[in-house]
Symmetry: C2
Subunit: 283 residues, 2 copies
């Protein structure tokens, strides 16, 4: 590709830009960001070659990548499709997919759009958090591929594969339902854990001195960006509430077992759950 | 020290033995374990120099280290104190401290015992999981130090410091109350999350293909040993139920906010919880 525009120069967009550079997939990276500090940082860090405004950038690009919070992406995508050149592809990288697909489903240029979700990230944000290897050996989902031009889907799939990212296809609805359990729910459990211990800390200043690597691991996602996660939680509300209900049920189960203090029951529950090891090792 | 006996050749005991060897703090490591496979593995891996039965080992040791599940430690400690040589120290490494201190509080040789909890571990278990660096830059708690001989406390503190482990002192009650929040609760949240997703997986085989590093981080502790964690949950039941109640309150808060879908409220909650970053970075 000659020109690629990255809209949103944070962790995800910045890392994608760096990976495209590293693999020689793009000749020139054009950055678009409403945050002036992020523009400057992205140039300084060599994430993009130049900064432009959205429309000018789109008009001279082969590929446009939306890596901004999902509410912003849903606002800007229909506008981009209004003036997108015939051969240009626009892809998003948001963590919910039904909303954005619904938003443009009747747009005459819907075929130029490919809905994707690379399942990769860290708890950090901004251009400084970006690194080229973020997508290595991760999975990216392409949703509702039949709504996009076959050549566009093929191209986006090939880009991900060139970044050593495995690609799966599914409907936007299936994506949002599944991701509620294996990503969005994890963020809920981490934020709730962080808030619980912060509340206790008000009276017990020394408590964090006792926090070990296990606590850090389970609470890590509570450092995640509120700008990114607020719209995700709201958009995927319906699936997420189901996931939270199922989770609360398990917390209640454990609470009851601990109250009853029956070692056989607790041991059995923990042993059953150890099965997660088998499944994660398969990946 | 000439001879050190390690009772329990798993992750914790094995790692402690390897660290004592690496730093030259012990001339000979004697292993005690009821599991014959663990005995053989520990010898093969060079974790201990020989295997012996408990009483013979204790009678010729300067230090005895209990690194077995807390219910087993509470059973064996009074017996060891019955025949422990005058100058020998016995320390435990269990994750709850009030129970074991209560168990031996009136024993005539209570002063030979030092109650400790090194806040270190991984989700793995057994001799093969052991590594010398486990305790490096971690924190170890010594509980109720005034109940032990001052020379014994001094010696145990010095050993931990030689392993580059920071030492804090507190009462067994304070330890158990705090650790419920920053360690035991994290295990509850992980096991509940693991169980929730395993239940969904029964119908949705592909769901784990979509699990990213965030899910793996929050669910990691669900791989932990049921033998170790069942007695911890039961022994620290009272504190842990309080911690679970506080946590359930936060899950309910998040659930309600998501149901109401007010972005300002959610954003505020997530931003407040980001404060965990400041605290963990201080460590």
């Amino acid at each position: 590709m000659k020109n690629v525009t990255i809209v949103g120069l944070g962790l995800i967009g910045g890392s994608f830009a760096l990976a495209l550079k590293k693999t020689g997939l793009a000749e020139k990276l054009i950055g678009v960001d409403t945050n002036t500090n992020h523009q400057i940082e992205a140039l300084e860090l060599g994430i993009v070659d130049e900064i432009d405004n959205l429309k000018e950038a789109v008009l001279r690009s082969d590929l446009v990548v939306l890596a901004i919070p999902i509410n912003a992406a849903q606002k800007v995508l229909p506008e981009i499709l209004d003036y997108i050149p015939t051969e240009t592809i626009v892809m998003d990288m948001g963590s919910t997919k039904a909303g954005i697909c619904e938003r443009v489903k009747n747009h005459p240029n819907r075929k130029n759009f490919v809905a994707t979700h690379p399942i990769a990230g860290t708890e950090n944000s901004g251009p400084k958090a970006a690194f080229a290897e973020l997508f290595l050996n991760k999975v990216s989902i392409i949703c509702d591929p039949e709504e996009s031009a076959p050549s566009a889907v093929k191209k986006v799939k090939k880009i991900y594969q060139n970044l050593w990212t495995n690609v799966s296809m599914m409907t936007a609805e299936a994506h949002d339902e599944h991701i509620a359990y294996v990503s969005h729910l994890s963020h809920i459990t981490s934020f709730a854990l962080g808030q619980t211990v912060l509340n206790i800390e008000k009276n017990e200043k020394a408590i964090f001195d006792m926090a070990g690597s296990g606590f850090e691991s389970t609470v890590r996602l509570a450092k995640s960006s509120p700008d990114m996660w607020t719209p995700i939680f709201i958009q995927n509300r319906e699936n997420l509430l189901n996931a939270i209900d199922a989770y609360e049920e398990q917390i209640k189960n454990m609470r009851r077992m601990i109250e009853e203090a029956n070692p056989e029951n607790i041991h059995q529950y923990l042993s059953n759950t150890n099965d997660i090891r088998r499944i994660l090792n398969k990946k």
